[in-house]
Amino acid sequence: MPADPTRRVVLAASAALPLLVAGCRGTQVLGTPPQPSAAVRHLRAAIAAEQSMVARYQRVLALLADGRAADGGGPAARATLAGLLAEHQDHLRQLRSRLIPGSPQAAGAGPLPVPSVTGVPTAPRQAISYLGAAEQAASDRLLGEVLQVPPSLAQLFASISASEATHVPVLAATEVTQ
């Protein structure tokens, strides 16, 4: 993981990407990867999107925890959100691991942007609906990205897209009353 965000980074196109599904036999099945700079750009966008999801959950959890909301969040809702947040942190860690620092091929990589999250509702019920909508949008966006990146990264994007989609019904079923 790049400790120094200004260091150059490159996509770990094949060396660090185990093909995790049975039947894959090696790097020859990866085909010709796109230009590293394009793949890195899409990967960095995915990392930024995950950072935003993490920031949204942290914002909503803080809202539920500090009692600002009149109807409260409830410990069960907070536990549910904490579990989903942990999965996003796993996504983020895995996506970041696909960037290799120090490569000369990652021109223009630069530091990753700091996520800015705005428009989070202050009422718990609306805040949780907001998270559900954000999850669906993030899932759809990543699904669309599978054609833009090399196959093994497309596989990871597809899995994360699936994970985010599964969060939507969980959030829809989350009760926010104490």
Binding site: V21, L143, A158, A162, S163, P169
Partner: protein
């Protein structure tokens, strides 16, 4: 809903992986063709594996449904129909590409004994995990044309897995990353 209904197409006993390998069309270095669209050997292999997973799921939901009642049984029936349709679609893709998927097995090895509703739901989740993995293999191994199909179907299977299991995971279909 009946497992024997779908498995009746088969003329021989087969495990899921046998069904996946059966009927590989090309023995030379050629790729299959259909309507000007090529199916590479990797495409054929990945689609056949996905078909085998769908057929195994369709068989398994027959067992799942027989241990459930009420809305759970209705869900199992709906999911069984979904897997049958998906298997038909994959069959069609393979046939259009000049390959075959192989017949569904008469019976499949289930991952565990099923005697209770909870075990039936757990089996359904496991079947969906296997379908998710198979479609993610299509994403990784298949040509660009097949990638979106693989990703969409993986997402749909992951949603069903989460519904049956009642919990979510960070990397559906990629268990090696999650641990």
């Amino acid at each position: 809903m009946s497992a024997t209904g779908q498995s009746g197409r088969a003329g021989r006993a087969s495990r899921a992986d046998d069904a996946g390998r059966a009927g590989r069309a090309d023995d030379a270095g050629r790729a299959s063709r259909a309507d000007g669209r090529r199916l590479s050997h990797a495409d054929v292999g990945a689609l056949q594996a996905a078909l085998a997973a769908e057929q195994a799921a369709a068989y398994g939901y027959g067992v799942v449904g027989s241990h459930l009642s009420g809305t759970q049984a209705e869900s199992a029936t709906a999911d069984w129909v979904t897997h049958q349709a998906a298997a038909d679609k994959l069959d069609g893709l393979l046939a259009a590409g000049g390959a075959t998927g192989g017949p569904a097995g008469v019976a499949y090895q289930l991952p565990g004994a099923v005697h209770t509703a909870a075990q039936a739901a757990a089996l359904a989740a496991t079947l969906e995990d296997q379908v998710t993995s198979a479609y993610l293999d299509v994403v990784a191994r298949g040509s660009r044309d097949l990638r979106m199909l693989g990703a969409q179907q993986a997402r749909a299977a992951a949603l069903r897995a989460a519904r049956w299991r009642g919990t979510t995971v960070a990397f559906p279909g990629l268990p090696a990353i999650g641990h």
